[in-house]
Symmetry: C2
Subunit: 307 residues, 2 copies
Amino acid sequence: TSSGSDGSDDDAETTAGKSIYMVSDGTGWTVEHSVNAALGQFEHCLVDRGCAVNTHLFSGIDDVERLMEIVKQAAKEGAMLVYTLADPSMADAARQACMHWGIPMTDMLGPITEAIATHLGVLPSGLPRGAPGRSFPLTDEYFRRIEAIEFSIKQDDGAFPQNLHKADIVLAGVSRTGKTPLSIYLAQKGYKVANVPIVIGVQLPKSLFEVDPEKVFGLTINPLVLQTIRTARAKTLGFSEGMKSNYSEMVHVRQELEFARRILAQNPVWPVIEVTGKAIEETAAVVLRLYHDRKHKCSMPRISKRY
Amino acid sequence: TSSGSDGSDDDAETTAGKSIYMVSDGTGWTVEHSVNAALGQFEHCLVDRGCAVNTHLFSGIDDVERLMEIVKQAAKEGAMLVYTLADPSMADAARQACMHWGIPMTDMLGPITEAIATHLGVLPSGLPRGAPGRSFPLTDEYFRRIEAIEFSIKQDDGAFPQNLHKADIVLAGVSRTGKTPLSIYLAQKGYKVANVPIVIGVQLPKSLFEVDPEKVFGLTINPLVLQTIRTARAKTLGFSEGMKSNYSEMVHVRQELEFARRILAQNPVWPVIEVTGKAIEETAAVVLRLYHDRKHKCSMPRISKRY
Ligand SMILES: Nc1ncnc2c1ncn2[C@@H]1O[C@H](COP(=O)(O)O)[C@@H](O)[C@H]1O
Ligand SMILES: Nc1ncnc2c1ncn2[C@@H]1O[C@H](COP(=O)(O)O)[C@@H](O)[C@H]1O
Ligand SMILES: [Mg+2]
Ligand SMILES: [Mg+2]
């Protein structure tokens, strides 16, 4: 998949491939996330470009006029429409216009919202998230999340080891096991994360061995994959030949992973997570599953929240 | 809503409120995101706890045995089930078990996946994201995202102004307008973001006025709301009385916002975004809408991607 900042979306290219129009009265991130996951089911033909797909996200669509313009444009392009519209009259308008123009459509949140309404015995408000009057509450959770992000940035790459006791989660692993993006991913979910690099021959901070071992997670990776990633990294950083070879040379990579393996093994309470082949969000799911399981010891591992 | 790191999910509390079981063969983030957005439609009763909701996320569920255990537990608790299961036989098993136990259920991705399949004329693979054999491609996009995150961390809070020209997006605003969490949110989406604090009496880096003005975004906020946020912040940081009053005192807050307003007004190409009452992801949607609109000048503002 190709992403935001340089997605090729000039008109010439978008004609070569099927289009999916995504419409939301809010940010559009829910419909984008869902379509993205669904497209995972078509990777077998997306990767070899057998069936290229262009997605177009229209966010903040809260009046019928703009909605109708988008539907008409979708009809012209032969696109399908996926929408999340909280106002029932907007959702109806989308559905009827699509039927009128013969456009395939999916209401992404309508069914789940109805199901929850029945389950709770409460009618949905029908108000989009940006609706006037819906004052944004500066909740404790809001502040806590921002604090988690600021903490995790500050604690990146082994900085301020004296603060490890303040972290909810501590990640340890050699360079390029994804500690930084994983820390940030978890921070966005409200966890204060610190990450500590394991470097061959460099002593780890004493505090790492003093904090609650149940919150420390080791990351490991296949040496061949690590070498590939490090070679790419060395190129990006413009390493000199000498530095590069030491950092990404196979012998060194294996030695450093072995050094890390031994340290992690000496602390058997720390789980060691294999990150090879996992996207950041997949590793995050594994970490949080273990984290909540250890904290709450449910019969079936789960992450629970209260709204 | 209460979130991950300290969500109250001990057994005593979870009984007081309706339960939603969320099941995925992957990370579970898609079903969590969707349920979360849908619950926004019930804020009118969630906030005053008229109808408390407990969600339970079960991720990595890729065998029928565990799936059945969860469905049985849901039946026992009177919960509803929301699932994303790529393997059609797993999805069928969930549906039939729910019907058997009389559990309300929603298949979150089934309908959109079918609609996309019809639209593309291709069958879905039926393989969950972690399925064996699905080798994770170390794509350019993957590396670019990680680079964006690392860049944005490094450029937080005005650091390394000589690098502003390397950023895709530059954010400028006074302290506590959400520059840091917004930078990180955008970085996760693949954009290299730098943020520059505006502080009364402190000169802004020359490079801010030398970079492409189309990529600079000003953030502004209501003075009363800012004062509230800063007071909370000062408490967290443990500011002394003297520092606190200067930072969060109303006169100072107003003066600093006026100082910022004048600088932003002197650079009329920079859009100024009002963040009052907006969640981080809402401000992110506004920034990216403007960013893509300026870059691509479509008749209808959109964010386009190619898969
Ligand atoms: N906090 C909320 N309150 C009300 N509606 C929401 C909330 N969050 C999301 N929604 C709705 O859920 C759908 C998806 O939101 P978004 O991800 O912002 O596009 C839109 O129809 C929004 O209006
Ligand atoms: N890249 C992918 N390839 C195949 N299936 C995917 C991919 N990403 C997500 N899915 C599926 O989409 C649903 C939601 O994924 P998740 O958000 O990880 O729970 C699950 O059924 C996953 O198996
Ligand atoms: Mg790092
Ligand atoms: Mg900041």
